[in-house]
Symmetry: C2
Subunit: 421 residues, 2 copies
């Protein structure tokens, strides 16, 4: 039997992988490039290329305005409904709209306006910065003094104990990333939602880094609110619009603060008065960017075909394998594991910390053709998209990372960060 | 010399049209279809089809995350700058983002928060309904009682006199459509901006129906704020994102209420604290939908090549020609002109009113292959996109409309509206 560090070991895992054939559904023209950034921008599904051609040439070019009656107006709900299948929500509880930040603004402001006797929003310092900026903006707009309490963590693990203390009868809203963007720590959605609920606070999950990688169940967690992104593990394309989820029982109680025509109960009446849609659609605002929305569907269909449980099983095995290789090869070279060791609280990316992390990531990209990304201060993020990542990709990427260190290839790179990764 | 109603007259105008060759830059596969809805969704430029293929297959499929460093992150400002050339603004005063309604929300709330000693937003009943819904939402979020005063009109013409009365020292914001969506009445931007300025109110123009059809000059008007849409006369594609304009001197004074990472002075720091960008970018919020944004550019380039003055001259001549044919052929059949007669205050679409307007528009579409749209109660809107509409298209469309009436083809259609037009 081969050693864990042998290429043969990875090859055997690939050969046994029941999801291996899904890789063929993606455009991968460059066999030498190892892409471990699907947690930032997912790969192009082959069907998306064909759909784009139909969208542009036939739907827009030939059907013109008729496109709205021939499917466009339904796309946000249709794709939202499919996202619901990935996150344990019903079809009429999820809709595609705007960006994650805009959706977070809508739901967070709706929540604090509902819970209007309370003076606090609770979050943590692992949350995505844009979420924190949005929450501060929401606090400024509330018609009462409202504090954003950012519970500190150890930088890797969700500060569950401290959150338990912080969430109290003054808490209007608890807003957290389900899987956090740096360490990939993943909260127990059910337990934390329960904490919020017990205190009478509304819980709002940002699922940007978990949707499509972790089989969350919003219903089982009795979670009222969530938002998330579609361009990471859902493979929707660059900047593809986000989604929002509102549990059915909350849809009538909460109001969208950005009241636009797409949220009107009968938008084509063009009435002067706003009458909100009775269901989730009242959280819509303006005209949706059809091309960027329609292209979410092919990648998501692949996830639905593969099944979230199978994807999660593979993802756990792959991130564990990556961590095993880190332990064997990279820990001795000064790399720290900046992600949880415990699989139950780890998402689908692994962050390796190194004092020269920025330069190492640049050398990886430019010399070794391995694409991770970098997040300050020291995190080289390695994203595993189980739908198209092979075990041999992980083996090869970690081998190349070793070579960067052995040959000190990073030393030629600037200490100063100068590009987006 | 031919009569105005002769086909030969239209053919002569086409032959003399210096912009006629721009039509070849658009995909027009169906010579029998007459598309007069470019004011709702512009046609597909040929270059957009080619650009889409590059965006999908090369930029997303092959360049993957590197796309952000290779142009995507600049697209919003780059295309915004070009829109600036169409509306008399500098490149650093216009940026593409979100939807028109979201942008209106941001700028209107910023304006009333700035003018925080005043108790009124003034608009009119010709404004696009979504704009009114947004303004009401903004009023609810203000930290003081704020009234939305909707000045009534005659249904066609901007109520300039009544607005002059309404705009006073209690007015925080005046928000109007530059060209209104039903009648195409077009305000004198300079005069009305001056009214607002004299009262100490901020002026916010919605240019959705004027951008790309009227050579507005925001600088000459000393206008502080504007928003607008890119999927109508700019030919950006279905639901392509909108733009916002903030005059340079107002950029530091006003704050975006939806503070997201794209508005941070250094978003890739991922800092916990929000530090807004010093310029216009602080009005950005979340990740932009790249495919839908990038495809705005080819259509806009065609407008820049043609020149707004030449486009406006042709548009005026074409809408006047359409009105001449209405007078000859359709006024006797019960059609009313629901647009201004005076060219100076008319945009690039013409609304014809008829008691059977809904059924007539359905017959036009289904029997006659002419695509207008319909806006309650009685408006058949005929949009002229001078960049690709021919005089013979107008002649033929009006001839077919006559046939609908002569042969009573509309009688087979339901009195009840049942689809989006």
């Amino acid at each position: 039997m081969s050693e864990l560090t042998d290429l043969a070991y990875a090859q055997k895992l690939d050969a046994e992988d029941p999801l291996a054939h899904f890789r063929e559904q993606f455009v991968i023209n460059d066999p030498d490039l190892i892409y471990l950034d699907g947690n930032s921008l997912g790969r192009l599904p082959k069907k998306s290329g064909r759909l784009a051609q139909d969208l542009i040439e036939r739907q827009w070019g030939e059907r013109l305005i008729s496109g709205w009656n021939e499917g466009w107006i339904e796309l946000q709900a249709q794709i939202g409904g499919k996202i619901g299948q990935l996150i344990g929500a019903d079809a009429d509880e999820v809709i595609v709209a705007d960006s994650t930040s805009i959706n977070l603004f809508k739901l967070a402001l709706a929540a604090v306006n509902y819970n209007d006797g309370r003076s606090k929003i609770v979050t943590d310092d692992l949350n995505f910065p844009s979420d924190l900026y949005i929450l501060h903006g929401v606090a400024r707009l509330a018609r009462r003094p409202l504090q954003v309490q950012i519970v500190p963590s150890d930088g890797i693990h969700g500060p569950v104990e401290a959150l338990t203390q912080a969430i109290d009868e003054d808490t209007a809203l608890v807003a957290l990333s389900h899987t956090v963007f740096k360490s990939s720590y993943t909260y127990d959605m059910t337990a934390v939602t329960q904490l919020a609920q017990d205190a009478g606070a509304l819980m709002l999950w940002d699922m940007s880094h978990s949707v499509g990688s972790i089989p969350a169940n919003l219903h089982a967690a009795n979670a009222p609110l969530a938002v998330g992104c579609t361009y990471k593990y859902l493979n929707g394309g660059p900047g593809s619009p986000a989604f929002l989820y509102v549990q059915r029982k909350w849809q009538a109680k909460l109001g969208n603060p950005i009241t636009g025509w797409m949220g009107h109960e009968n938008m084509f009446e063009f009435a002067l008065d706003y009458q909100r849609d009775a269901g989730l659609r009242h959280f819509l605002t303006g005209t949706p960017p059809i091309l960027s929305i329609a292209l979410i569907e092919p990648g998501m269909n692949l996830l639905l075909d593969a099944g979230m449980d199978a994807l999660r099983a593979k993802s756990v095995r792959q991130t564990s394998y990556l961590i095993d290789l880190w332990r064997e090869w990279l820990a001795p070279l000064g790399f720290r594991l900046n992600s949880p060791v415990e699989t139950a609280v780890r998402g689908s990316h692994v962050s390796l910390g190194h004092d020269d992390g920025w330069r190492i990531s640049q050398a990886l990209i430019n010399e070794m053709r391995v694409i991770p990304d970098f997040r300050k201060p020291d995190n080289i993020r390695l994203g595993i998209a189980a739908i198209y990542t092979r075990y041999t990709d992980i083996h090869e990427a970690m081998s190349r990372l070793r070579r960067v260190m052995d040959e000190k290839l990073y030393e030629r790179y600037s200490l100063v960060e100068n590009v987006v990764t």
